[in-house]
């Protein structure tokens, strides 16, 4: 506790507070803009931190990550365009709520759920990171492979209407992640002679294409309906619908608690990320709900579940980063670069070599959580004005920002070309129910999955019975098989019932 108090002394220095507030504000604004997620924002901001002291620099970047994670809910709720994949489940219920004139309510619940999730796992990080470093040897390649396989299969099942289509999407995602230099032999793989593909395909243009560009294509097609609905929001915006009642809180608190726990666990496990957490949390909340049919039509618990889990992942994903040096998320991976710039190597020795700095970072993260609450609450009215802006103003802005984001993070104009290709694929995946979320998760975890798979094969010599000597891996493998079997049985029953109804 004393060490944390000394951390607050550093974090509450005026210049550090300034950078934290600047980071959260910038992150929130960037998060609100569709297609510009926390990864892009943090990466763009890294050059800014060259001339800032290490604590202020890292606090600034963490502030951006936290701010943009919470901010991405705004675009998901108001525009049905998630700032990043992890906000997709927020849009499932947030957008219908906005269409019903309850955008303020959805935004408030999204913000509070975000702050609770974020704050809780920041505390978890403070208490867990250092002790966990001692147990880091428990998760080996075999365990990681089985955990990643289970997560991908589960997401494939819950994120769309068909498990088979979800699995296909995940497989295509992993396949696309294989493009570029192969990790063991360093030979080009599936590059088709294009030099730009040797380094692989960057996540940002792929994500922007799949999520934002494809959404713009659909919004242009349906703009007349959407503009009419936007006008309806203005007419139906009842003052009662702007406030959160005690009834809303009572309905959402269990979802927030569940989301925080899921986000904390998923964040700790390397490679899973916030998309897995928000979808797991959303799916579970829908499953345990008394009336699951309300979900997708404007259930406030859906927003609370997704946002608490999404934001809980960010601090929790720093646990493996600080304890073992493994990035648990895209943002953690980008932060490694910032640590290295300031001469710090994340890993078990960080607590020994840079103890004071770590206390300062912990304290800064708590300050950033509070800043998130204040900025999000005060600025909410300004952000919600986007809902009243007609599509003909939003679409050109979003398209322009998408192109800039893809350009910056995707090796110049090649990134924009990648964005176009994945925009087209995203269009078809949305319309034909091939889960783009599973695709993106497959794409992100692909390299980690391949690495752990290779290590597992090398360690066991390809002997499947080796699973029996790794109980964690065995449990997750069996869970994957059971999930596929149960889902298959449920689908078969459903189609048999449909056939019977057709005959009668």
């Amino acid at each position: 506790m004393d060490t944390l108090l000394s951390g607050f002394e550093m974090a509450l220095q005026p210049d550090t507070v300034f950078w934290i507030v600047a980071g959260v504000t910038l992150g929130y604004i960037v998060g609100v803009l569709p297609g510009l997620g926390k990864g892009a924002a943090t990466a763009i901001a890294i050059p800014l931190t060259f001339y800032i002291p290490p604590l202020a620099a890292l606090a600034f970047l963490i502030g951006i990550a936290k701010g943009s994670t919470a901010g991405s809910a705004v675009s998901a709720i108001l525009l049905n365009t998630p700032g990043e994949p992890s906000s997709a489940p927020t849009a499932l219920d947030g957008y219908p709520l906005a269409r019903q004139g309850k955008s303020q309510k959805a935004l408030k619940m999204g913000l509070f759920a975000s702050v609770i999730g974020d704050f809780s796992t920041t505390i978890l990080l403070i208490f867990l990171a250092a002790p966990l470093a001692r147990f880091s040897t428990l998760i080996g390649p075999l365990e990681l492979t089985s955990i990643l396989l289970f997560s991908l299969t589960f997401i494939a099942g819950v994120s769309g209407g068909s498990l088979a289509k979800g699995i296909i999407s995940g497989a295509i995602g992993i396949m696309v992640s294989c493009i570029g230099f192969e990790i063991e032999t360093a030979t080009p793989r599936l590059t088709f002679g294009f030099l730009e593909l040797y380094e692989g395909i960057s996540l940002v243009p792929v994500a922007i294409g799949m999520l934002a560009t494809s959404e713009m294509m659909l919004q242009i097609a349906n703009r007349a309906d959407i503009d009419r609905q936007t006008r309806m929001i203005v007419q139906e915006d009842d003052p009662k619908d702007r406030k959160l009642s005690w009834r809303d809180w009572r309905a959402c608190l269990p979802a927030i608690f569940r989301g925080t726990v899921i986000g904390g666990i998923v964040g700790i496990l390397p490679g899973l990320g916030s998309s897995v957490a928000s979808f797991l949390s959303y799916g579970l909340t829908r499953r345990v709900a008394k009336d699951p049919s309300r979900f997708g039509k404007g259930a406030l618990e859906g927003v609370a579940a997704a946002e608490s889990a999404d934001n809980a992942v960010v601090p929790a994903s720093f646990i493996p980063l600080f304890a073992i040096g493994i990035p648990g998320s895209v943002i953690a991976a980008i932060l490694i670069g910032a640590f290295v710039i300031h001469g710090i190597t994340p890993g078990p020795l960080i607590f020994q070599d840079h103890g004071d700095l770590m206390n300062g970072i912990y304290a800064s993260m708590i300050v950033a959580s509070l800043a998130l609450l204040v900025i999000g609450y005060v600025g909410q009215r300004i952000f919600s004005q986007i809902a009243r802006v007609p599509l003909r103003w939003i679409i050109p802005t979003v398209m322009f920002l998408c192109a800039i984001g893809a350009y910056l993070q995707g090796d110049g104009i090649f990134g924009v070309q990648i964005m176009i290709i994945f925009g087209i694929l995203g269009f078809f995946s949305r319309k034909l129910d091939y889960s783009f979320v599973t695709f993106l998760i497959g794409f992100v975890i692909g390299p980690a999955f391949e690495l752990s798979l290779r290590q597992s094969i090398a360690l066991t010599g390809g002997d499947v019975t080796a699973l029996f000597t790794h109980p964690i891996a065995l449990v997750f493998t069996l869970a994957t098989v059971a999930f596929v079997a149960l889902f298959g049985i449920a689908t078969a029953r459903k189609s048999a019932l449909r056939k019977t109804q057709e005959i009668t």
């Binding site: 763009i44 050059p47 800014l48 068909s162 088979a164 699995i167 296909i168 497989a171 295509i172 992993i174 396949m175 294989c178 192969e182 063991e184 032999t185 030979t187 793989r189 599936l190 590059t191 088709f192 560009t213 713009m216 294509m217 242009i220 097609a221 349906n222 703009r223 007349a224 599509l391 003909r392 103003w393 679409i395 050109p396 802005t397 398209m399 322009f400 192109a403 800039i404 350009y407 910056l408 104009i413 924009v416 070309q417 964005m419 176009i420 925009g423 087209i424 269009f427 078809f428 319309k431 034909l432 129910d433 091939y434 692909g446 798979l453 290779r454 094969i457 090398a458 189609s495 057709e502």
Partner: protein, 155 residues
Amino acid sequence: MPLEDRVANAILFIFGISFLVYINPTFTSDGDGTVVSPRLLPEACAVVIVVCTGGLLARDLVARIGRSVVARADAESQGEISRIEFASLAAVTALLCASVALFLWAGPLWGSILLISGSQLLSGERSPVALILTPVCLTAGAYVLFYHVLGTSVA
């Protein structure tokens, strides 16, 4: 199963087969004696795609056999992509490609202007003032944000 769905499954099935037979062996080395071949994971993914799309196609075939002609025609007519959505896809793709071409040929400013103005037109904007002011404001805003606020360069 709607027609678009069947076509998509068939395309993916053919893609999976051609990936296994031609694409992966041609564009990925076999690793030359390494413990795990670089082809392993992409190949495994292609197998998953072939099996799953094959399963979906087979299930559709079985369902079609069991259905009456009317029910079959009814299921097929429930298209998932409307004509206007296809038109929007084609228009946005054409706009983005034209913007990239103009970017490479004339520079980032002109590419950006075409992208913004084109998006405005596709979104239903017809006011000449808005069509002129929006590209100016957005490109100027991006310039200030990246070159002055963030202190980094775009192009």
